[in-house]
Symmetry: D2
Subunit: 337 residues, 4 copies
């Protein structure tokens, strides 16, 4: 961390600041130039409150030189985190994970039919929304606990582990048998929820916020990990840009950058990233080529009648085709390195 002091600071004040910082176990190096005095902080500055420093009267600016995250930081945990679900399914490292299923759970018939189809096509995990975050209070809000029941039936029927979104800590009680808790993009900085899921040891799939930076996203993962839960999966689902022909813009760079910054698994969701069925295949391929640990794809047995997010859902036959292609592509990527 670099602290730039205001011009001509009083020596006494500089001394006080220096002692205050050193009292936190951090080494301070002072550089005095003609017009400028700079303090270089060396040590674990993760827990130093940058906002507090900025308030001090002799401080003009503070810049971080090192990342403010620690538990998620690959620098301190060079090995990939590999998460193992109850049934042995592994996420992260050299494993490639395909998560598929409907945006919203709508009926027993629907979810079981889709679960069977995506399992046959090679999916490892079933996704399905029971609690649905919707921009409008007048849109379908999901089946709630009934939807979770149906997902659990599909899990029992097919053996596929399940992932579903939890929108509020008060709903966690219903997720005991759900394998992976999804925290949605709009809740990425719902810090209360992050703290609560941080107390569990259930894997959490943390979606990136619509306009979140990598650092903010990693800090949200840090919230979960600092609570004790080591099982975090990051999911790039597209960011907001000025483009209107796609719902969001898949930030493909997130995959290689985050693989370097953190040891956590990172997957891509091309369905939400584009909002368009036709774009799911090219973007899923791009994610595989860029090194993603997996993809999450929406599949519906009757996309025409889906209660939400229909335009981006594939039917099971289309998913068969894409799953096949992704497996071949993944093989090439492994071969060429």
């Amino acid at each position: 961390m670099i602290i730039k002091l205001k011009r001509n600071p009083k020596e006494e004040e500089v001394e006080n600041l220096r002692r205050w910082i050193e009292g936190r176990g951090i080494e301070v190096m002072t550089s005095v130039g003609a017009n400028i005095t700079i303090l270089g902080l060396v040590g674990d500055t993760t827990k130093l409150d940058i906002d507090l420093l900025k308030t001090m009267s002799i401080v003009e600016d503070v810049k971080r030189i090192q990342e403010p995250y620690k538990a998620v930081n690959r620098r301190f945990h060079p090995e990939d985190t590999v998460i193992t679900l109850e049934d042995g399914t592994k996420i992260g490292g050299d494993n490639f994970t395909m998560i598929a299923g409907p945006c919203s759970v709508e009926s027993e018939e629907q979810v079981i039919e889709i679960a069977r189809r995506v399992k046959n096509a090679g999916a490892n995990i079933l996704r399905g929304g029971a609690f649905k975050p919707r921009t409008s209070p007048y849109s379908f809000q999901g089946m709630g606990t009934d939807g979770l029941e149906l997902l659990l039936k599909a899990k029992k029927e097919t053996g596929l582990p399940i992932v579903s979104e939890v929108m509020d800590a008060s709903q966690l009680q219903y997720f005991k048998d759900v394998d992976i808790l999804q925290v949605g993009a709009r809740n990425m900085q719902n810090f209360h929820l992050l703290k609560e899921v941080g107390k569990l040891d259930k894997p959490v799939l943390l979606k990136r916020g619509l306009s979140a930076t990598y650092e903010e996203w990693l800090m949200s993962a840090e919230y979960i990990m600092s609570g004790g839960n080591k099982n975090v999966i990051l999911c790039e689902r597209g960011i907001r840009t000025f483009e209107t022909k796609t719902r969001n813009t898949l930030d493909i760079s997130a995959i290689p950058v985050l693989k370097s910054e953190t040891h956590l698994p990172i997957i891509a969701d091309p369905s939400h990233a584009t909002g368009t069925r036709r774009l799911v295949e090219p973007l899923a391929k791009a994610a595989v080529a860029a090194g993603a640990h997996g993809v999450m794809i929406e599949v519906h047995n009757n996309p025409e009648g889906a209660l939400c997010d229909g335009p981006q859902s594939l039917d099971p036959e289309q998913f068969d085709g894409i799953a096949e292609k992704l497996k071949k592509l993944r093989k090439t990527i492994e071969e060429i390195g």
Copy 2:
């Protein structure tokens, strides 16, 4: 609402779609051109699920012509909403509201001292954070319920109504004597929280999300109002842009645009919008000149030592000066119309 159909749709399918829409009490006008068929929907399309429509096989695109919000819409409620607090303080309409206080409550001495000072300077409402949303789990998270206690003491001492942020529905039990519930920018689309505060009749100050559009913001207000709570105050607090010299970018246009779109009061928070003490005055003036119903300003009795957001806090003396200027400016604005 305008529905553009795919090329050469089957007549039967068009007829089905038309009947389905008309069954919802909406009139459908069909325009058939050489290359294009368009359906124009006339009536209350607010409760029509635009996503569902887009899933239909014959639909190419759907565009709204009317706003998707109803309860917050000035078109249906031409009169300004004026909110009256228990002590008679009014917000909205022709009233001008000054909310001031510390970012975080830190001690009894601090909050009472500031409350007295800002009241003397003309503030109508005291702000103070007890539960603090922080990007890092390692930053100060607020005094919690103890903080609320201190705010209530300051209220008793000075008579000023208070506003404080609620981060999660589970905290609502502690806010019984708080006059206005603040929903923060990062929770603007925490739909569970919106629904819960929608069940109360306590005023809610709803901050705009960092990258939210006006429509999304108004839809979040609609969540609260559709739950029965009519007392919503909108607060523009700056949006995220590419600029890094300010923390956020105050969107001054939000004030006149929202005054036209909705009957709800709209105020501006120049402290969070800029993150810089020096910019609070010019931006507060701009907000007054643009017609804001009020401003919310951070004041700290010792900005050097504030535990959070210090760089943007004024000291009480600085606030005295600004409050005086804003009152004069407001008078000129009222005079010139």
Copy 3:
């Protein structure tokens, strides 16, 4: 195009507007509802000035239903454009193009060495900057015409066609023997330059502006094509987002979306998109997987000493490795379809 009229328009004015539009050979369909009157325009609205329509007193809003571009529109030109350079090199369609070379031309030795190396690795075209757009007037501005001379020597030496950026129409006189004119991101809406290159028949590589939408980008291509020059290549080079760990954000969706919207070739520039050497490989792979017609990659024989854009340049050996991988990946993509 859909025109929403203001409430209760005068019949006479509606009739005037309708006649005015029909006089431009466009059919008008009127839909009158209880609260709203909508005109649906059917026909070639490309040349209708949407801004002019919005000025009319009875018009509340105008929305396009069809794209405002024509010459670049795949709807009217279903076949892929394939551009053939003088030496027979083809760009677009089923061809895969690798453009490589230094950011800036620095010396004869440098550019010839790199040209040889990238040709051996499989590159089809040599890139090199002679006129350099730099944010600061104090940064190296390129070798200018001397740089072009060196590029032409490298072309003569290796047979590789060359592409170089033209920053102003007054420089076009120096580009007679350059195979492809590059129009840079900051000049994407330099309409004078677009018109001037539109008068030539030399291929133009048009980079996307930092914050341009697909539509704006295609409209800039339309400027060139409407001038008579049919040989436009689009190049996605990353857009500005809030992320700071990468210089720009490669918008991978641009590739499949633009392949559907237009018949023009589209390539990706992972070097500028990321600004980081280490990210060039994963993003180049992603571009290939997403279906790009080619990639443009910066290669420097001594990245440590490059006068500009060094951090994103590969050395020839690294390029050898990537080129090899991209060719294998491209083969897999062709096989799996």
Copy 4:
């Protein structure tokens, strides 16, 4: 400037780097910590190429501590720049400038009528577009040199100095009698044009680019000033954001921030910033309240028939009212300080 070195750099390489920098007259302070080595550069780093530094093998990251601009920097020129036009009109400092006129010049009658009206209302300068940058090649491109002729007639008739946009350096020959050259938002980084207008001594009104940061904008002004032309006026005209209800988003913070960063005059253009007639008044007021040195407002004698940008133009009567209000508001702002 702060240079963060890679881990465990070779001492010899550090020494080389240090000598290379010191050779440029800059003092280097080295701070060595357990895990990190930092070089602090003190002196005039404006002309140091940050990109070049980043290329060096031992460098991990470079951060600026001081601004990269010099000629425009208030730090080195504490006094406000005041620009005096031929007729004595002053811009900057304590002067308040009202620029008004049509978006496009359309006819002699139109431009003279408007010139008279805006002069009577108190405008100091007449604006009018002759060369028009338009997104579509099919939109009206302006009257060109004929338009300039008409502007000059209006200048002769009314005595108002004139400002008009130059889109390309090749057009500069026609601007000899134009008082202020406008460089448009899309040309803010047309470096060739900036260099050419930098060679003149005619005042330049430099609009901010649609997504430009303050620093980029100031660097473009630096291009002009470093060429020798000291007469630059900055014009905030709205930036691109996610909001669609306004054409652009007026960044009101730009005014106080730039008044602090630079000595150059800064004005606001509420017409282009919003694209909506009804929003011009509140935003012009906000700009005055925030301390702008002036405003630029579009006025049309028949907004219904304007060939471009009609929806944002006021008619002369509306401008009378606004001009009156702005003068009163400006008086209050001067009084309250």
